[in-house]
Each structure stands twice: as structure tokens, then as C-alpha cells.
């Protein structure tokens, strides 16, 4: 049995039609199509490329010549029993069963990594970030916001004092009491809201105060933001945002434009998912703090419902929860009301891993 192909002369681009055969167990023979002898070598001294798809098979001969054949099946047949030139991976590639299994494994691993790996890694990175970095990040963030959509607060002294008192009542339940700070700003473009900066500053917009009907509501909002500070949620979000594209580039092994761009949309969806779980955790912590003070967690729920109405209009035009960065308000309200429990049953503060 022989294999047809081309023989390239040693160190040369010149070739002739040729065939290869295995006259003895450990010997490969190369002859011209006319039968002229071109060379005979021990199998182990010939470098034989592994089969890969339909690409030509190459036999690099010790004298610098090259035999090349497109007939992969015949080459495999000729080499059978020599233990050379075959590849376990190629056999897997040609089996639909293994291909399907690989696809399942890859999808499963991708899901597991997105669901558990990235959050755990981002949590670890966020917690390992030095405090002076947090300060710098927070300062520049606040500066940027001050330049764009925040204005100096027009809030009166009584309201400010009310907020400071509320913070002092809940801050004892935070991880680092005394490290939280209030920042008041007017934000007509954003509306009623509060957000936390990594260094412990909690920005409260003037627009929030008209919506507040009880001190418990204000405490709930502040405890919610404290939880963001405690778990460094903002920082975790930053790390997650940079890990998602890196992970996609790693698995596709492709740093090209397609791969980079392909990360953007899934990145947004995945990050929105992470951010929802942060919000849930912050709600849980806020509920625990309110419970501990003997107040009703539902107070935060009522405020959320009012904020929602203010921002999204009467008919809820806010996006569905799977798409938004916050869980749908109805879900959050339900959850908070269900957490209306004795203080002893406070939820744990750890990120779910």
C-alpha cells in the first residue's frame, strides 16, 4: 500500500510527483512516480505532522527533503502500528460525540465562571485594594459628577441634621461604624437617589427628601448604601467589568476586533446581573439594620415604590429585572417585606459565593 503525494528535494522548493510506502515495519520509502528511489528512512527519524482537519500531511525527512500528501486516510493507514503521526486530539475532533461533550463542557464552564468565578475573583480583588486607592477613586468620581450632573445642595439645616441622625442610628450595624460620611447634592437630572462611593461617602440627592415620610425610610436607604460601602460593591463592579472581556479573550484565544466587540453586549448583560445581586445584598443588610433597631424593613420598600413611581411614571415603564441593573422594584418590595422578622434572624453580610 502506498500514499501519493509530492516530494520536495532537500532544502528546495522543487518538487516531483511521488509516493510513500512502508516496505518494512520501521522503514518509510519515498519513490518518484516513475519508480525512481528518492530515499529510505527509519520511521522514527521522519518528522510526521499530526492530522488536523483536511490540511496536507507533511513528512519532514532527515536530509531536508519533504514529502507532502493530501490523502490523510492513506497516510494514517500506512502509519498504522508505528505509533507515529497520529493524534488523540484529532480522533476526538472527528467524533461528534466528543465534540458535543466539549461544547457542553465549555458552555457549562463559561456559565460557572460567569456565575461564580468572576464574582469571587472581583470580591477578592476589591477587598485586597488598598485604602488610599479607594480615596483617590472616590475623590475623582465625585469631582467628575460635580462637573457633570451634580450641583451644590440647597437642603436646609433641619433636613441635614435629620439625615446625620439617621446615619448615626444605623451606622452601628455596619462593618466599620464611623467610616461613613454624608454628602448632600442637588441632582435634578438624576432625581431622588442615593449612592455610595468606595471610601464610605454616601451621596444623597436633595430630590430624595420630599419623598421621605418617616425616619425609618431614611435609615433604610442609608443602611442600603452602607452595605455597598462595606462590601466595596462599586469596586467589585469595576473589577467585574474588566474581567468579563479578559475572560472572553482568554477562551476564544482571539484578541481581534470581533472578539473585543463581541464582549460588549454580553458584558453589559452580565454586569447588570452582578449589579442586581449587589442590590439584593444591600437590601438584605438594610433590612437587618432596620430589624436590629426595632424598625420595619418594609419602610425601605415603601420608599422604593415611591421612588419608582417618581422616576418611571405611574405606569411602570422601567425595564424588566433581567435587563436592569436593579431588580424590579416589585421584587425588592416583596423581599423586604418578607424580611420583616425579629432582629435575631439577621441575614449574613457575606457575598453569596
Amino acid at each position: 500500500m502506498s500514499v501519493d503525494g509530492r516530494y520536495f528535494f532537500p532544502h528546495s522548493a522543487r518538487f516531483i510527483a511521488a509516493r510513500a510506502s512502508r516496505p518494512e515495519k520501521r522503514v518509510l520509502r519515498f519513490e518518484g512516480a516513475d519508480g525512481a528511489m528518492l530515499g529510505e528512512f527509519p520511521v522514527r527519524r521522519v518528522r510526521i505532522s499530526e492530522r488536523l482537519g483536511n490540511i496536507p500531511r507533511r513528512f519532514r525527512l532527515p536530509d531536508g527533503a519533504l514529502f507532502e500528501t493530501a490523502d490523510n486516510d492513506a497516510a494514517d493507514e500506512m502509519l498504522r502500528g508505528t505509533g507515529r503521526g497520529n493524534s488523540a486530539v484529532d480522533r476526538l475532533e472527528r467524533s461528534w460525540r466528543w465534540v458535543a461533550l466539549s461544547a457542553l463542557l465549555s458552555l457549562g464552564a463559561a456559565y460557572g465562571f460567569v456565575q461564580y468565578g468572576i464574582p469571587a475573583l472581583a470580591y477578592w480583588l476589591a477587598m485586597a485594594t488598598p485604602v488610599n486607592v479607594l480615596d483617590t477613586v472616590s475623590k475623582t468620581t465625585l469631582q467628575t459628577m460635580d462637573h457633570t450632573f451634580l450641583k451644590p445642595s440647597k437642603l436646609g439645616q433641619p433636613q441635614r441634621i435629620r439625615a446625620v441622625v439617621a446615619l448615626s442610628k444605623v451606622s452601628v450595624h455596619g462593618r466599620r461604624p464611623g467610616s461613613y460620611d454624608l454628602v448632600f447634592r442637588d441632582a435634578p437630572a438624576v432625581g431622588p437617589n442615593a449612592f455610595a462611593l468606595p471610601d464610605g461617602e454616601i451621596v444623597v440627592t436633595d430630590q430624595l427628601f420630599p419623598l421621605i415620610q418617616s425616619d425609618a425610610e431614611l435609615e433604610g436607604v442609608l443602611a442600603h448604601e452602607m452595605s455597598h460601602v462595606d462590601h466595596r460593591h462599586g469596586l467589585q463592579g469595576l473589577y467585574q467589568a474588566s474581567l468579563v472581556p479578559a475572560a472572553i479573550a482568554l477562551v476564544t484565544g482571539d484578541l481581534s476586533q470581533i472578539a473585543q466587540m463581541a464582549t460588549i453586549l454580553p458584558g453589559i448583560l452580565v454586569e447588570a446581573g452582578y449589579s442586581r445581586s449587589f442590590e439584593q445584598q444591600a437590601d438584605d443588610d438594610a433590612a437587618a439594620a432596620l430589624n436590629a433597631n426595632g424598625e420595619d424593613p418594609a419602610a425601605l420598600a415603601h420608599l422604593l415604590a415611591r421612588m419608582d413611581e417618581k422616576v418611571c411614571g405611574k405606569k411602570s415603564s422601567c425595564p424588566p429585572s433581567w435587563l436592569g441593573s436593579h431588580p424590579a422594584t416589585a421584587e425588592r418590595v416583596q423581599r423586604l417585606i418578607s424580611e420583616r422578622k425579629p432582629a435575631s434572624k439577621a441575614p449574613q453580610g457575606d457575598l453569596r459565593k
Binding site: 520536495f8 528535494f9 532544502h11 528546495s12 522548493a13 522543487r14 518538487f15 505532522s49 488536523l52 482537519g53 483536511n54 490540511i55 496536507p56 507533511r58 531536508g64 527533503a65 486530539v89 476526538l92 475532533e93 472527528r94 466528543w98 465534540v99 461533550l101 466539549s102 461544547a103 463542557l105 465549555s106 458552555l107 464552564a109 463559561a110 437630572a189 438624576v190 432625581g191 472572553i248 482568554l250 477562551v251 476564544t252 484565544g253 482571539d254 484578541l255 476586533q257 470581533i258 466587540m261 463581541a262 460588549i264 453586549l265 454580553p266 453589559i268 448583560l269 447588570a272 422616576v311 418611571c312 411614571g313 415603564s317 422601567c318 425595564p319 435587563l323 436592569g324 441593573s325 436593579h326
Partner: protein, 350 residues
């Protein structure tokens, strides 16, 4: 030179690509699974198999290219890179004052890295039993990959096209096949025209994107729909990214075309590239959509589609048949040379 050959019309050989998405899918998915199972170690083999498949399906005048590096060497290169990264991270966290020293060392290292990578790829790529080679030296890489870009940017991009020309000259002219050089030569004016075209295109695309974004934002302010974060992000980011893609594809392809269309091999064989920036933009953008909609599973088909288009728009105008070329890399040189040829494969191209 010409008198011996006579002024015979050159033979045109269009490049062919014979790979298929289905076949590449099997290779890719196995690569992925094995890379995951081996915690990334297999990625060196995966890289070789991917490139071997793409090169091995690229045919010029009936002969396929071949790519046959040792995956072990790529793995070693990655381990060395990882070791350096760890050394850097640890030493900087203990002695922050070393940061500047590390950056200087890294910049000094870049030319070596670039040459190694180009040489590694060239020497492991062969066509008709003859290997390619890359003959750049440290100073050349320093000037063309480090100094020129700095000059280009520090003149507020005015000299950037000129820097790009220097880089492409270095890239093409230091490549060789069978000991014979590739050579490209095009005018500085022509590359400036491309960049001016690119600049105008950029302005037009950005005006459309930003205008669209403002309109959207205005509509949302009116509707008081400010909390639709993801929608806003998508509606602004997608056109933005598409614009950047069209723009960068335009620049890349036009410069690639001009470099190749003026390139000669051995002073008489010519190369031709007829890749259209618009078709290419369409392929890149539509591939992106396909990949997104399939959670990445259509990636192999997308990659093959793009490679096929790029490949089949190239041709070789051969002044003679290529039988005469012989390998100048003697056995001794390739044995020792390849050891130092470079561990790092950065995927640097035109």
C-alpha cells in the same frame, strides 16, 4: 536581471482558502474544552492547532502554507512571561519605588520581544519546503516600533502616518523567503491620503453616532426614562463600537493594501491585495452579530468567513515558477537559531 528571463507576462496566482466552518468548529471546541480541563496549559497547543489549520488551508499556486512550531516553546514562553509578571507584581507591591525601573526595563525589552515574535512566526511558517525568515535587529525594532510611534504621537498625530510607513517598511522588508528579501516601497503622500480619508470618515461616523446619542438622550429626558441604564448603554455603545470598527477596518485595510500592492519578492514577484474596507467592515460587523446571537458558538464560522474573504482577495504575480528557491537556513542555523528565535508570540502583523 530582466534580460535573462525576457519580459514575459507574470503568471497570476490567486490565493485560495479551503477551510470550512464545520471543520474549524470541531477543532475550536476541542481546543476550548481541553484548555479549560488543563487550566490553560493546553492553550499553547490550541494556538498552534488553530493557526496550523488556518495556514494549512491557505493555498498559493496549489501549495498550502505550513505552520509547525513546537507548542512546548510557546508554553515555556508563556511561563516565562507569567514569571516576569509575578516578579513585577510582588516587587512593586513591596518596593513601589521600582515601578519606574520596571517600565524602563519593559520599554527596553519591547524591541527584542517584537523581533523574537516576528522571527518565531516567520521561521515556523513554510511554503514548499522553504521557511520564511525575519531578519530585523534590535535597533531596527527600537526605531520603528518605539521611537517612530512616540514621534508620531508627540507631534499630535501629524507624523503618525509617517510612523506607520516606517513600521510597515520594517515589517515587510525584513521578511525573507529562501534567503531572498521582500521589499515594499510606497510614497509618504499615499499613506497621508489614506489617513486623511480615515480622519474624514471618523468625523462623519462620530457626528452620526454622537448626534444619534444626543437625540436618544433627549427623547429619554422627555419621557423621564432615566433608569433604563442597559438600554441607553446599548443604544449608545453599539453604534459607537460599529463606527470605530468601520473606521479602524478602513485604516487597517487601506494601509495593508498599499503595503502589499507595492511589495515585491526577490525583486520580481509581486503581491496584490484587493481587500475592500467596506466588505470587510460588513463581514466584521455581521460576524459580531452572529457571534452574539449564538453565545459564541458561531465564532468558528465567523473566523473562517473572514479569513476566506481576506485570503481570496490576495494574489501573487509570479515572474517565474518558484522551483529555484532553496533554503538558506542551514541545518546548523535552524537548530541553534530557533532556540533563541523567541518564545513570545505576540501576533504582530501589518
Amino acid at each position: 536581471m530582466a534580460s535573462a528571463e525576457g519580459a514575459v507576462a507574470p503568471t497570476r496566482h490567486d490565493f485560495e482558502f479551503r477551510g470550512t466552518g464545520g471543520e474549524f468548529f470541531r477543532i475550536w471546541i476541542l481546543n476550548l474544552a481541553l484548555t479549560l480541563l488543563t487550566f490553560g496549559i493546553y492553550s499553547a497547543w490550541a494556538k498552534v492547532r488553530t493557526r496550523r489549520y488556518l495556514y494549512g488551508n491557505t493555498y498559493i499556486a496549489g501549495h498550502a502554507l505550513d505552520y509547525d512550531p513546537s507548542p512546548w516553546r510557546i508554553l515555556i514562553g508563556r511561563l516565562i512571561a507569567l514569571a516576569f509578571f509575578l516578579a513585577y507584581s510582588i516587587s512593586v507591591s513591596i518596593w513601589p519605588q521600582f515601578l519606574a525601573g520596571w517600565y524602563l526595563a519593559f520599554i527596553a525589552f519591547i524591541p527584542w520581544l517584537i523581533n523574537s515574535s516576528l522571527r518565531f512566526n516567520a521561521r515556523n511558517t513554510s511554503y514548499r519546503n522553504i521557511r520564511f525568515d525575519f531578519t530585523g535587529d534590535y535597533v531596527g525594532a527600537l526605531v520603528n516600533y518605539v521611537v517612530w510611534p512616540i514621534v508620531g504621537w508627540s507631534t499630535l498625530t501629524i507624523l503618525l502616518p509617517r510612523a506607520r510607513k516606517a513600521r510597515d517598511y520594517y515589517f515587510v522588508n525584513k521578511h525573507a523567503y529562501g534567503g531572498r528579501p521582500f521589499e515594499t516601497a510606497f510614497s509618504t503622500l499615499s499613506i497621508y491620503l489614506i489617513y486623511i480619508g480615515g480622519f474624514l470618515l471618523f468625523i462623519a461616523l462620530m457626528a452620526a453616532t454622537i448626534g444619534g446619542g444626543f437625540w436618544l438622550l433627549g427623547a429619554m429626558v422627555k419621557a423621564k426614562d432615566f433608569m433604563k441604564g442597559p438600554y441607553v448603554m446599548a443604544a449608545i455603545l453599539v453604534p459607537y463600537v460599529l463606527s470605530l470598527t468601520v473606521w479602524s477596518t478602513f485604516l487597517d485595510i487601506m494601509v495593508f493594501n498599499i503595503s502589499l500592492n507595492h511589495a515585491k519578492f526577490d525583486g520580481r514577484h509581486e503581491l496584490r491585495s484587493r481587500v475592500s474596507p467596506w466588505v470587510m467592515s460588513w463581514i466584521v460587523a455581521s460576524n459580531l452579530v452572529l457571534i452574539l446571537l449564538s453565545v459564541g458558538l458561531l465564532y468558528p464560522w465567523a473566523r473562517v468567513r473572514q479569513t476566506r474573504y481576506e485570503t481570496t482577495r490576495l494574489s501573487l504575480l509570479a515572474a517565474s515558477d518558484l522551483d529555484e528557491y532553496t533554503s538558506e537556513l542551514s541545518a546548523a542555523r535552524s537548530a541553534i537559531g530557533e532556540e533563541v528565535a523567541g518564545f513570545f508570540d505576540l501576533g504582530i502583523g501589518l
